[in-house]
Symmetry: C2
Subunit: 130 residues, 2 copies
């Protein structure tokens, strides 16, 4: 159960919102799949940029994880967060490699209104961080 | 592992696209959470309508399940399907009760283009089936 150990580290980093610690969790060849854009974002640097941006967008919000479904090297973490009165419900699908590093990170959100809202928020944050 | 048994029945029904068999899988108090709309759709009749509509939308498509993450009473089934040249990537999050009936069915899709496309397709199909 590689995911169980990886999850513990992920929760520590996500709760602390610590960007330096986040970097240590990612494999060099990690891939990020955005809820908004089809094209996978490849490589540790860009995956870090997306996740660090998300940490910023959700800082001081009511972000919380709901369900965790864990099997083998993969975990699905369902979350909920309210931004500007729009309720966002989503999943982080995280896959770890044998070295315990995150190799794949996919996010999906619902409903449609939340996807649009996240699109705007993440775009602004990515531009300010790039 | 309630979900493991429930999954077998789900796959049989989903692959056959059999609406009568689908009805037997659902609990009277089942709830459907759409990828498009926030408000949960409550009760077997409306959950059936949504899932049967989805069967119609995806009939004769290249719909296929990718990853399965299963734990306890819940399964997350990642899928991919192409409609009108738009690649839809999503998850079915299915929860079964102790009687082996589906009590909760949540769908999320990505990217944004796919949410919009599904919105249009499902709207048209729900109107034609209602």
């Amino acid at each position: 159960m590689i995911a169980v150990e990886g999850l513990q580290a992920w929760h520590q980093v996500a709760e602390g919102g610590n960007a330096d610690a986040l970097k240590k969790l990612l494999d060099e060849n990690a891939v990020f799949h955005s809820p908004v854009v089809h094209t996978p974002q490849e490589g540790k640097a860009i995956v870090f940029l997306y996740l660090a941006s998300a940490f910023q967008v959700f800082r001081d919000s009511d972000f919380r994880y709901l369900r965790e479904i864990v099997q083998g090297d993969t975990a699905v973490l369902e979350f909920a967060v309210t931004i500007d009165d729009i309720e966002i419900n989503g999943v982080d699908m995280i896959k770890w490699n044998d070295d315990g590093k995150i190799i794949d990170f996919k996010v999906m959100v619902r409903p449609l209104k939340a996807v649009n809202m996240l699109h705007q928020q993440m775009k602004a944050m990515l531009e300010s961080m790039s």
